[in-house]
Amino acid sequence: MENTNFVMIFLNWLMSFDRKALILAASAIGAGFAMIAGIGPGIGQGYAAGKGAEATSINPKTSKQAIMVMLIGAGIAETSGILALVVALILLFGNPLVGQSGSVLVIAASAIAAGISMIAGVGPGIGQGYAAGKGTESTGKRPKYQSTILRTMLLGQAVAQTTGIYALIVALVLMFSNPLLKLL
């Protein structure tokens, strides 16, 4: 029966490694997960650019206003990519978890969790890019309402960004002031 308890066998196998090596390995996995968030802004900006090209081809006279809205929208859509990059690079090059005392399993799991939480950045990236695309499209159709469209788009993008910032806060808490270690 004991031989079939794979979870225990796996955990015992993990514990056979050096403490530092285990935390660094978990950090590497976490950094990899965090980088997944970089996809979001890529898709979003691509969508916005596609809509910009569409708006220009439909009504070339309004292309100037449409590009201005697209530029502002696409600029904002990049933010979650930068935040994910920050967490991934802190895990790789400025790792705060290696020096922490406490259960190695909790610290290693926190390193992976910090990376996984940053995957939330995909959502704001795509969402903000989508908003930028739609803003560009509507400005192409009705350039007279450019300022209203821009304001509405940015308001939507600011709201969409909040989940990305929550993810960053959770990742930073897990890395720098882990509350789970105090419970042990």
Binding site: I67, M70, L150
Partner: protein, 135 residues
């Protein structure tokens, strides 16, 4: 200089102004402010350059077919992503740059865009305090 040069100039001027105010504030009110100031200036400069590259990319992308524009804009985004990665890596490695300053600098231009476009209308604030049932 392209369609959007005036918009870029407006954003750059505002960003530079705010950063200068922050730098002066840091220099007066904090001890050993140099790493933070260097980090802030470095991050802001890179974010401004990235914004300029974004503008050039989008100005070019709108002249393409929609599907091609999508691929072009996405591929250029990843180049900027790598640039940001290198900047954050350098700031983590270099002792004379404060990483928090660099991150604030990188995000500064986005904050300026929000502030410039969302809070530039006095009527917006006035409307908040007008009670709808009183109309």
């Amino acid at each position: 200089m392209g369609y959007t040069w005036n918009l870029q100039l407006k954003i750059f001027k505002c960003t530079a102004g705010i950063v200068i105010i922050i730098v002066i504030g840091l220099a007066i009110f904090t001890q050993n402010p140099l790493p933070m100031i260097y980090g802030l200036l470095f991050g802001t400069a890179i974010s401004m350059l990235n914004f300029r590259v974004l503008a050039l990319t989008l100005e070019k992308a709108v002249c393409m077919a929609p599907s091609k524009a999508q691929v072009y804009a996405s591929s250029r985004y990843f180049i900027r992503f790598i640039t940001n990665g290198i900047v954050i890596f350098i700031s983590l490695k270099a002792d004379y740059l404060n990483i928090i300053g660099v991150i604030i600098g990188l995000v500064m231009i986005k904050i300026i865009i929000f502030v410039q476009n969302l809070f530039n209308n006095k009527m917006f604030f006035k409307r908040i305090f007008i009670r709808k049932e009183g109309k």
